[in-house]
Symmetry: D2
Subunit: 240 residues, 4 copies
């Protein structure tokens, strides 16, 4: 992504609907050559469908993917530390240097303390990094909304990785989240996550008011990731 | 506190203004005989001034103090676990059994993950425990307010234990917190904490709109804890 | 346990074989009246069988049990902090004040960092608290032995709470642990834990060279805890 | 480092003495272009002095440095998780994929639980990754030695970053560590760390029996990192 500026990437990214792909730490899918292939598949699908796709690879893949692929790249997390003597910790500056233009925070597999989440969101804003915050219930979503992230993803943890889609098994979690969140932060786009494995699940989420989806294993571990991404992106019916 | 019921203690407690005493883990002050003496001093001061005093001793002192003293007793924390195979962890049920009628959560020395804080607040409500949540900035206070605790205490961590009172050094932290919190949760009583060492500091907090204070070392390590409590309680000008 | 001194309790305790009862945090078994009943049952069984029984209740029950029962009481854990501004954390001094004469450290449900474990063991020695350290494999047992605890308990975590006794399902874990540990620390008594539910399981552990057992749910949640304790204690064939 | 195999890198690396450079997370020194410059300076110094130099950059720099520089590269840490659904965590497989041939574990800024440290060391061995374990005292060093790492570094945390060299301020920490470690694991090479800022400090460590040093800020934040590396490497008097 050497040919376009950060400012341009921001423009691409914030066009809804959004398909955010969390690579997690699957082996071998999330690392090395496999991760790059997945990123290329997403790039191709983004071009063809016009949907905004965010790539969220592990720390170790951030630079290679952000330098090779013309899609916005987010880190999966950053640690609540300032640069300095912090062996094995990743301050926000590290992912910025590696080419990330945003960061996922508070994923159910990497929850943050409230005070740290708040501090990291302020720091990300100050440094020009986009933020996507995960939450687990309508109420924590409301609390997260008060912290003013750029994007929120509601993911009931009990459905993550199950193939039981939140958008169909628990539609009320999405609608209540939208209702609670928008009382506090009316413009905040909300993505749906957890158990989403098909275009139908995506379409259901969009119909409920979600501005996109956060997906992991259904794409990352798919037999054909490119086809799965196209299936999901197409279900968002973007204004091309 | 064997002679009055939980319901009665609730009534006592929620009368504002409130002086909440966090015993922390000072040695020897916070433990054993010393802790009981401190609790007795608070009981005497509460009777004389009419101010509601909440005692917040370590886990190991909860039962003795709640059985011996006629004041509401809160735990300093509870762990985000359900009862079961959790060696060395304290579920909410443990402090309830030991006589606590409330719990302090998210103190700056014991921050909780947003999801855990939200879950513990729901559980405390369901089990009839009062909740006092600490926060560090106006923004995290707003987020905490969305989680509907019974009481909130704003404590800028950089002032805790310094003797520099938030109510005088950073009055805007209190007023902004009140403003942000009440947009989301208009009835939530806000206490002020951090650096409060005198009746004047307390009075300043009350004038700014705080419904009380959360104090630790200034009382716990005072030469004469009773006098210090009376000084602070008197500065709240309660409706006796 | 007001009538005998700490020194006397030590003597009682270090007589092998040892039956250590970890109350964990079961509800209602581990708390309040139920916890005290369990402790009394253990006291009676200890008198009748002559076996040394160590009680390991939650923090909130330490004082009541150590004041009411004539058996050695250990804490389930202590936090690696010095006394001071540590809201909701329990320094070693807290459990000492509450009547504990020892502490369980590094249970599989509450693992410690190597440096903290080492530091806490030194501190416990300096303060006169007995120590019982848990470990999960022969190799970590060897490492733990280098830190010179008073007692070690080998507990393969995958068997904890299963009812599949380490002493019968994985006897080689016990014998290899004894072999590795005694190369480094020849006098260290090793207890066996995990999945032990009957006198037969206890007897098997003793035959393999264990100096006792660490038991939780099989006793704590037993229909008749007293009978279960007697069954296990009797299986140790103490030199009365 | 595309031209030589992992097996060859191992040979280079295990030749003592060793200068291990922990990049930590200093900004801008530890990241991006600056990190690569530092790595190149080390490469040049290694060629000129014949000393084995290990580079230990942040996760985000692992691949670039291991692909560009002909020196062994270690990760600063790996998380105790298996590959899978672990957003923002780095399993050992991730750093292996990124070109690391070893891993630093249990640094004082990133301590591990004893059981996790033991498990990660076994896993590293099984996967062919070298291991360098940090410890803080002679006793924890003995415990760590029982876990059979490839290299050990003794670093009294109170000296890290101070410029007060362990080798001169606390020589007995090094000699006692050697003595304790070699009782348990006679062949284990021990490096010295903490406060080392000059060739003299390095020479003092070598004279005490250390097989090398672990250095961070003194090199990473040096005005001229190349000169500092040469100064330290030269002080090791390698058998060229």
């Amino acid at each position: 992504m050497t040919s376009i500026s950060h400012a341009e990437r921001r423009l691409i990214m914030l066009e809804e609907p959004i398909l955010a792909i969390n690579f997690k730490a699957y082996y071998p899918y999330s690392f090395g050559r496999k991760a790059l292939e997945l990123a290329r598949a997403a790039e191709k699908a983004a071009r063809e469908t016009g949907v905004s796709i965010i790539l969220i690879p592990p720390y170790t893949e951030l630079r290679t993917i952000s330098e090779s692929i013309e899609l916005p790249v987010f880190a999966q997390h950053v640690d609540p530390v300032e640069p300095g003597a912090h062996t094995g910790w990743i301050p926000l500056e590290a992912v910025l240097e590696a080419g990330a233009i945003g960061v996922l925070l508070n994923h159910s597999e990497h929850r943050l303390k409230l005070a740290d989440l708040s501090h990291l969101l302020e720091k990300a804003r100050a440094k020009g990094l986009h933020t996507l915050v995960c939450s687990d219930t309508p109420r924590t979503s409301a609390a997260a909304a008060a912290l003013k992230p750029d994007l929120l993803a509601i993911e009931p943890p009990e459905l993550i990785g199950t193939g039981i889609p939140v958008s169909r098994a628990k539609p009320e979690v999405i609608t209540e989240t939208l209702s609670e969140v928008h009382k506090i932060n009316p413009q905040l786009p909300v993505l749906a996550g957890a158990g989403i494995t098909s275009g139908e699940d995506v379409a259901a989420a969009i119909r409920l008011g979600a501005k996109g989806v956060l997906v992991a294993s259904a794409i990352v571990k798919a037999k054909d990731s490119y086809e799965k991404i196209v299936e999901m992106a197409s279900a968002m019916q973007p204004k091309q």
